[in-house]
């Protein structure tokens, strides 16, 4: 079964420990002009996770909420389905991981991800696509990802996806402050990282128009015809080729013009 993380946004204080943990664990660089926390941080090749301070409103009162963002590790990852070299793969434990040696660098994954997670090493000669790997090494050993384990307020709960989903349901049902929506339960066909919040998700910059159909199905709805096209269209073409050729030959023999 796949593992997941429940992110309870009501508990986040914006300390940014998780962003630092991610860099310390994955050896990613700190870039002064591209911070991982603040009001407008950006996911980049070095920032696999960011925490955005959202100054918003709740019940007419100004409130600040902090949104930790990273790859959601979709159950049916669009990025993996988009990669034509299998550089992105979903592991059995949940993490959607990336194999640099397979990547060609077409960046279709970046376009495909409904959450715009994968980022590119634009400044490198041989750039790679980067994103949160859910600390796949740790998860494989049954440990929580680095960012999860350092959070001082326990914003994140690591566990089996169905268990954390049940926990999420219980939490939002038992406490009226939560909005009755588990982000990631259905989005993009379900993600392994799921969020609960007391402020509507669209106010927090979440994409709320994401389809609930797993994105790979869109491609599949088209690709499934490929074999039929090959066989059908192929034989039709061959047939037409042979037929028209023969007809022309006969016509030629009869020294007649063919009008079509």
């Amino acid at each position: 079964m796949s593992k997941g993380v429940l992110v309870d946004l009501t508990k986040c204080i914006g300390c940014g420990s998780c962003t630092v943990a991610c860099k310390l664990y994955n050896d990613n660089k700190f870039e002064k002009d591209s911070p991982a926390i603040g009001e407008n941080p950006k996911l980049t090749d070095e920032n696999w996770t960011i925490v955005t301070a959202k100054k918003t409103e709740k019940d007419g009162q100004p409130v600040w909420r902090y949104v930790k963002q990273q790859c959601l590790h979709c159950e049916h990852p669009a990025c993996a389905s988009a990669c034509f070299a299998k550089a992105f793969q979903k592991t059995e434990e949940g993490p959607v991981i990336y194999y640099p040696h397979l990547c060609v660098g077409c960046r279709y994954c970046m376009l495909a991800c409904p959450f715009d997670i994968p980022k590119y090493q634009w400044e490198k000669s041989f750039p790679l696509v980067t994103k949160c790997q859910m600390c796949s090494g740790k998860v494989a050993k049954g440990e929580a990802p680095a960012c999860v384990s350092v959070c001082p307020t326990n914003v994140m709960t690591f566990g089996e996806r169905d268990e954390i989903l049940a926990l999420a349901k219980k939490t939002i049902e038992s406490d009226s402050k939560y909005v009755k929506h588990i982000y990631g339960e259905k989005e993009a066909g379900g993600t392994d990282w799921i969020y609960i919040s007391d402020v509507p998700f669209e106010q927090l910059g979440f994409r709320t128009d994401v389809t609930t159909t797993p994105l790979p199905e869109y491609s599949h709805s088209f690709l499934k015809y490929t074999p039929y096209v090959i066989v059908g269209w192929g034989s039709l073409l061959t047939g037409m080729y042979l037929y028209t050729k023969r007809r022309n030959k006969i016509a030629q023999e009869e020294k007649k013009d063919v009008h079509l």
Binding site: L111, K124, S219, I230, L237
Partner: protein, 379 residues
Amino acid sequence: MAATNTQSWSFRLTPTRVLLFILAGMAAAIALWRLIVGLGPTTNLNDQWPWGLWIGFDVLTGVALAGGGYSTALIVHILHINKFNEIGRSAMLTSMLGYLLVMAGLFLDIGQWFNFWRPFVSWGYHSVLFEVFWCVSLYTTIQVIEFGEILTERVAKPWHKFFRKIMPFLLIVGVLLPTMHQSSLGGLYLIEVGKLHPLWWSPFIPLFFLMSSFFVGPAMVAVETSLAGRAYNHQVDLKVLRGLAKIGGTLMVIYLALKAIDFSNRDAWQYVFAGGLESNMFLLETIGGVIIPLIILISPWGKTRSGLVTYGALTALGVVVNRLNVVITGMVNYYGPGYIPAWTEIVVSAGLVAGGILAYCFIVENFNILGHHEEHEAA
């Protein structure tokens, strides 16, 4: 006129060609620089806009415009409609060059270019791009082999027989593959659901790509033969052009009808006249690139050479705008403005085209392309 088998190689240098050479040379230099230092320093692509002019123009548009090859191949070689024979070779040559340029453009655009062969061994078959990749690379190979038939008329002559033998197979596969990848290029954008503007995103986008790539074939032939005709004093019979245009026109009508049905199904009419960048670009592409050409075709002007050339040019431009709309305009709303092609990207794109024109001229001047009337002897 075109070469006969005993002539020596010839290539005239005119001022235009010098200019084209300079352009191609600059493009080559930039391309080399890009391969060394990466994409960041040499393009305006960024995390927000991972795909830009090179994919939009060099690849998507290039493949569509080169579609003339397979539509004429279908008409000439599969349906054996002999009256179109005389344009067969030139259309297929343009197509082959087009595809080679597409491959070059793609090669420049991929980050780990030394790894380009990877999908041949690591099969990401869930990806539409996988189909595109295989089809485009196979098709390009096949076109090069097809060209072998022409080539061996002049060099490595002993092979000519062999090439003639395998031609039927090549032709059939050579129509099959483009059918697949022309549509799958549209299919790439299926996964952009919710990102690509509803004016372009549609579950039928593969079909629209396929149809437009088909009807742009005759249009391109009209433009190209008139250009080549002027340059090489070789005029293709007006009847042939008109016949082709009629086939294209019919398809364009069906295309429009399908789009209308699709828009009704998806409730997308509201966006058509909504004003703003998207709807304006969409109207440009549809009115300027489909409806007006159709009107020209029906009108008496459509019976003249200039009318047909205008029809062809507008249709081709319409497809160019359509592809760029899908890659760029249709994404602006989602990604926000943040990408204007860098001069380097523009020069490389232009340089690729320049290189293509030069290669076309060279081949036309040295091989039997324009004057060819294929006779179907027993194969």
